[in-house]
């Protein structure tokens, strides 16, 4: 099957045609001949390389009531993603070759986007013994990103060993930076809001202290470190310093940390409860600038589906997390593009090239040129709409953006030449 995408602005530049043949891009240029290919009119749309998420909770196995590999990857496709990294905190935990291969196979069978499993760093994400990282790396799932996400690898020796060990297969440890003792029972950002609301604070220093330790460890042993969901201005400063010293550290920021602040917690609606928590306006500004200047390498959704009852409860009882695959690109447009901080080439870099490179996905995050795999997202930046939770493709509804008017709409997503989304509809 061939497609001729007509008149799309490649990375927001001049309009051009993209000829997709079989699994790859055959040609990019003006006035290409359809020659029997199905024509996709893309005037006014922006063509981006298929988006890559480094941080997705697909919940399968274990919590199929919240999301499955099938529903999560359909949600990803609707958000313009062609690859997602499935986090390891499932039940059972993805800490063996068996579990990561199961998730990888489920992704292949679903076929909506590539599912690259993340392996747990420690057995049962308990932080005590290394999981069989090599077995996961050698499995059919070819795991390269390891994370205990949801939990911090807080033991400095375990963290050092993990960083060292994954060098053997060019892996990376993605750290959920949260000093556990400083955040026991923590409910929200520690500051003016937590003081007024009487909710246990999650201080910025609990994130920053772990990042500071880990960049020094990574520097010492010469290993790749990736920092998950950076949320504070102080973390940005530490990462900027580490990079200036040549430390092999990369970092991600979530869309919600680019847009929302902790005063959303004022009504005690746990839809705004997330870990790390929403921070202050100063943190949001620092994160945006860090993403723009490259201190933070990429956007990752931390898509965290939860069933309705997990959020319709008292704040302290509620689960942490927000869904984000289907709103990621609109939020990035709102926070980064409309503010002039990033152009569309920058968006392609932060949401496709960089995360693919960090995750060592060779077939993803490729430039839109002849010879690349045809992973393409077509996006209409002029659309505007209010976020409607009931319209989500995800199995869960816990979006913090409900009712918020956001720009942009994913019109089409191509995964290796096959449309998973066309005209805004799942194929």
């Amino acid at each position: 099957m061939s497609y001729l995408i007509k008149g799309a602005r490649v990375l927001g530049g001049e309009a051009a045609d993209i000829l997709v043949r079989d699994e790859g891009i055959a040609a990019v240029g003006a006035g290409l001949d359809a020659g029997g290919a199905e024509v996709v009119e893309a005037g006014g749309l922006i063509a981006l390389p298929g988006l890559v998420d480094l941080h997705t909770h697909l919940r399968e196995p274990g919590r199929e009531d919240a999301e499955t590999v099938g529903s999560g990857t359909r949600s990803a496709a609707m958000g313009g993603f062609t690859a997602v990294h499935a986090m390891a905190n499932t039940d059972p935990v993805a800490d063996t070759a068996g579990v990561v291969e199961q998730v990888w196979r489920l992704g292949r069978e679903a076929g909506y986007c590539d599912v690259q499993p993340v392996g747990a760093v420690t057995r049962g994400i308990a932080g005590e013994q290394l999981a069989e990282l090599g077995a996961m790396a050698d499995s059919a799932a070819r795991v390269r990103v390891f994370s205990d996400d949801g939990h911090c690898v807080s033991d400095a020796v375990i963290m050092r060993r993990a960083l060292e060990y994954v060098k053997a297969f060019d892996g990376v440890v993605a750290q959920h930076a949260q000093e556990p003792r400083l955040t026991e029972g923590a409910q929200m950002n520690e500051g003016e809001m937590s003081a007024a609301l009487g909710l246990r604070g999650w201080p910025a220093v609990a994130e920053e202290a772990i990042i500071a330790r880990d960049v020094l460890l990574a520097q010492h042993v010469g290993s790749r470190l990736h920092v998950c969901h950076v949320s504070t201005a102080g973390s940005v400063e530490i990462i900027r310093w580490a990079k200036s010293k040549g430390c092999p550290v990369t970092a991600e920021v979530t869309p919600h940390h680019l847009l929302l602040t902790d005063d959303r917690c004022g009504g005690y609606d746990p839809i705004f409860k997330v870990n790390p928590p929403l921070r202050t306006g100063d943190d949001v500004a620092a994160l945006r600038h860090a993403l723009a200047d490259g201190t933070i390498d990429c956007v990752a959704t931390d898509h965290a589906p939860h069933p309705v009852e997990a959020k319709e409860t008292e704040w302290a009882e509620a689960a942490m997390g927000m869904i984000g695959l289907e709103t990621a690109l609109p939020v990035v447009q709102e926070a980064m593009v409309e503010t002039g901080l990033l152009d569309w080439a920058g968006v392609a870099d932060r949401m496709s090239y960089k995360p693919a490179r960090i995750g060592r996905l060779s077939g993803q995050g490729r430039p839109l040129e002849a010879g690349s795999p045809a992973n393409i997202t077509l996006y209409d930046p002029s659309a505007r709409r209010a976020v409607d939770p009931s319209a989500m493709t995800s199995k869960s509804r816990n979006t913090p953006f409900a009712g918020l008017e956001l720009p942009g709409r994913v019109v089409a997503t191509f995964l290796r030449g096959r449309p998973t989304v066309l005209e805004g509809k799942l194929q």
């Binding site: 520690e190 003016e192 609301l197 009487g198 604070g201 409860t313 008292e314």
Partner: protein
């Protein structure tokens, strides 16, 4: 007034003065032989207590009954809640029973906010987690006003575990609304990091603050703080932040000593202080009923005059 009383910040200065004036009126009936008014006849008030708190529950119960409301006591222990029922389902059950007012005590900060989204009746916060306890602040202000008169410019010192205290939060907000100057005194570990944004001052030195205080309010030291490195030992806490006879002697002649109860005698307050003439601790309990009557009346009572036409005389 708002339909609910969830935070002391819900009360404007006029609202707060109306509650206090109404409480003053209603306090008169405590001296009558028949302590009952028909004002809330036919209304249903549910006391929804997820935490054990006998004193607050019976205070609300007495307040509602003196206004002739039907009172349903619902305590979490032994109820469907202990079988895992969610707050939302409990709320929907109460709603189906037609509760006009729900008085809620809950261990989670913000539970009354959530409840208010699920029921049509008025929600009164009877203490939520480490957030607020607005009727305690009203009864405290009522007690201060009875002893000292107008609160404008009065210096109120609140001593103890401010970080975890719903009493302190509500008092800071309400007393600020009423024009008093509040000073919080605590070890630095027991004040929120952002306390600088609150409308009050903070001191770590009790002895420096006492001679300028019209009111000293001692907060209870919770058992679970005692072994969590907030302070080195109970004795050290007591030496630095406890109110004993010597410290009480530094207070101005007219100053009063308050405590929301229950007290740890010998920890935050010495027995001789608790039992002294300056102590308002027993009065606070009695005033609690009047203040809660005023709140229930104003939220549920509509336009009838509070005291009616002396039907119960």
């Amino acid at each position: 007034m708002n339909r609910h009383l969830i935070s002391a910040a819900d009360l404007s200065r006029d609202d707060a003065l109306l509650v206090l004036d109404t409480a003053e009126e209603l306090a008169q009936i405590a001296d009558r032989s028949i302590k009952k008014l028909p004002t809330l006849r036919g209304r249903t008030v549910v006391n929804l207590f997820f935490e054990d708190s006998t004193r607050t529950r019976i205070s609300f119960e007495a307040a509602a009954k003196r206004l002739s409301a039907d009172v349903i006591n619902f305590s979490a222990k032994g109820s469907s809640v202990s079988k895992g029922e969610s707050l939302k389902d409990t709320a929907l059950t109460l709603e189906a029973m037609g509760a006009d007012g729900v008085v809620i005590r809950h261990g989670a900060s913000g539970a009354p906010h959530r409840l208010a989204g699920w029921v049509r009746g008025s929600v009164v916060n009877a203490g939520d987690g480490t957030h607020e306890h607005p009727t305690q602040a009203l009864l405290d202000a009522f007690t201060m006003r009875r002893r000292l008169g107008d609160l404008e410019g009065r210096k109120v010192t609140i001593v103890g575990d401010v970080l975890h205290s719903r009493v302190a939060r509500s008092n800071v907000l309400l007393l600020h609304t009423l024009g008093a100057d509040v000073t919080l005194v605590a070890p630095p570990t027991l004040v929120p990091v952002a306390v600088g944004t609150w409308p009050c001052s903070v001191s770590y030195d009790l002895d420096a603050v006492l001679p300028k205080s019209d009111v000293v309010m001692m907060l209870r030291v919770q058992q679970e703080r005692m072994n969590a490195a907030y302070f080195p030992s109970v004795r050290e806490y007591s030496r630095r932040y406890g109110l004993d006879g010597d410290r009480m002697a530094q207070l101005p002649e007219h100053a009063i000593v308050m405590h929301p109860g229950p007290m740890n005698r010998g920890v935050e307050i010495a027995a001789e202080v608790a039992d002294s003439v300056r102590s308002t601790i027993v009065e606070q309990v009695a005033n609690g009923v009047s203040a809660r009557m005023a709140v229930l009346y104003l939220l549920l009572g509509g336009s009838e005059p509070a005291i009616g036409k002396g039907v119960s005389e």
